[in-house]
């Protein structure tokens, strides 16, 4: 026992270290997010946060659920592989965000240092409410020209025209059905497959 004689101050000092270490572990457990380190040096729950964003483009399968007539018109044409929203765009409108619970004092204090990410505004898609979310008919003069205006940069086999020479201002859909643009073989060759 003589080795520990007069060593009390060392034990007290070591005790302080242990106490400080425990306090460190306690704070660390509180501050480090729960899923940090689950898969690597990052917060695994972030993947769930990102995956929770609402999708604006519904996907062509959703459109085809109701518009099967258009699908039939498209399926044998040159535009069979052009998805609906490639031309019509994503049909949605943003809704007013619902009022969430008011942040408490601690959350407001944290918000002074770490700005919370604003939540995504909820969306209403045409597929969910066809009556109130109406798609706008695309302007073919812009829409068709964007892809089909002749340019040396485009692939050689891709159908290209000089819009002014080709139609002299007549709208494209006068002759072509945008869903299946090939014209009747008897009336002309433009847009033939």
């Amino acid at each position: 026992m003589s080795a520990f004689k007069d060593a009390g101050h060392l034990f007290r000092f070591a005790g302080l270290f242990v106490l400080a270490f425990l306090i460190f572990l306690g704070i660390r457990g509180f501050v480090v997010p729960k899923t940090f380190g689950q898969y690597g040096h990052y917060r695994a729950a972030a993947m769930g946060d990102i995956a929770a964003h609402p999708a604006k483009f519904a996907g062509h399968e959703t459109c085809e659920g109701c518009h099967s007539d258009i699908l039939d018109a498209k399926k044998n044409g040159k535009h069979a592989h052009v998805n609906c929203e490639a031309c019509h765009g994503a049909i949605y409108q943003k809704m007013p965000a619902p009022e969430g619970p008011k942040p408490n004092a601690f959350q407001r204090l944290v918000a002074l240092v770490v700005k919370p990410m604003p939540p995504d505004p909820p969306l209403l898609r045409h597929a969910e409410d066809p009556a109130s979310v109406k798609p706008e008919l695309p302007d073919t003069a812009v829409l068709c020209a964007r892809c089909h205006t002749a340019s040396a940069a485009k692939p050689k086999g891709f159908p290209q025209v000089n819009p002014e020479e080709h139609s002299s201002g007549v709208p494209c859909q006068t002759c072509h059905n945008p869903h299946s643009p090939a014209m009747d073989a008897a009336t002309g060759t433009g847009g033939a497959k």
């Binding site: 729960k34 899923t35 729950a45 999708a55 964007r146």
Partner: protein, 243 residues
């Protein structure tokens, strides 16, 4: 059970360490989606790209990308016969509204869509000082925006210029490969709206994905292979002049 003071001192730190594992939950909020079953990438078929800018507009719509910044963009290359080293590259507003008409003259023109390459060994995630950006177990490079400090170190580290600091959120922002879509069984917004199939989302862990046959039968390249980033944006028909 009686615990001595000495035993308590040993047990408390052990319990503190174990507490973290107790609290850890499951991150996969999307039902039926298992991160371990996918390894995402993208195929870009340059001979099919017509430079319409649909992908750029779709991405901006889907992901609320601020004007003037791009998660994906399209470049038009003009390579003259004599000068393979310094091609003329334009990308007006990221190619969002298409490109001016290219006249038939000397040399060749072609479009190169660009986006995050979702590198398996990504330089951008390696430099993050706080663990706010990472390669997910399914091979997508993501940013945890609630954790990001906005130091922009990753913006400098990306050799492909695919990151930016969001002007309002003040954090790093980039292509998520539409993670919110692909985890729900949808394709990305850019692939959904590409009219020619020049962009295709690929799942390298899915044996039924046509990418496997495509890679076997085509000359496919990644951008800056010399940097060994493990890029997963595969370009078919990539010209040697592309940087």
């Amino acid at each position: 059970m009686k615990i001595s003071r000495r035993q308590l001192l040993v047990l408390l730190p052990a319990a503190a360490v174990a507490w973290k594992a107790v609290l850890a939950g499951t991150p996969e909020d999307s039902p039926n989606y298992k991160t371990s079953e996918h390894w995402w990438g993208m195929l870009i078929d340059i001979p099919k790209c017509i430079g319409c800018g649909n992908c750029v507009r779709a991405c901006q719509t889907e992901n609320d990308v601020p004007d003037g910044l791009f998660r994906t963009w399209v470049e038009r290359y003009h390579v003259t016969d004599e000068d393979m080293i310094s091609p003329e590259v334009i990308s007006p507003d990221g190619g969002k509204q298409g490109f001016p008409v290219a006249k038939e003259d000397a040399g060749k023109y072609f479009f190169v869509p660009k986006l995050c390459n979702h590198c398996a060994e990504s330089p951008c995630t390696q430099v993050c000082p706080v663990g706010a950006t990472f390669v997910s177990p399914d091979g997508v490079v993501l940013v945890d925006q609630s954790y990001c400090l906005g130091c922009a170190y990753c913006v400098q580290a990306c050799p492909y210029g695919c990151r930016y600091i969001h002007p309002e959120k003040k954090v790093a922002d980039k292509c998520t490969l539409c993670y919110h879509r692909i985890t729900k069984g949808l394709t990305t917004a850019c692939c959904e709206s590409c009219p020619t199939g020049a962009r295709q989302l690929v799942d390298l862990k899915n044996p039924a994905d046509p990418i496997h046959a495509f890679l076997k039968t085509h000359s496919v390249q990644v951008l800056k292979p010399q940097m060994a980033t493990g890029a997963k944006a595969y370009y078919n028909g990539l010209d040697g002049s592309v940087r």
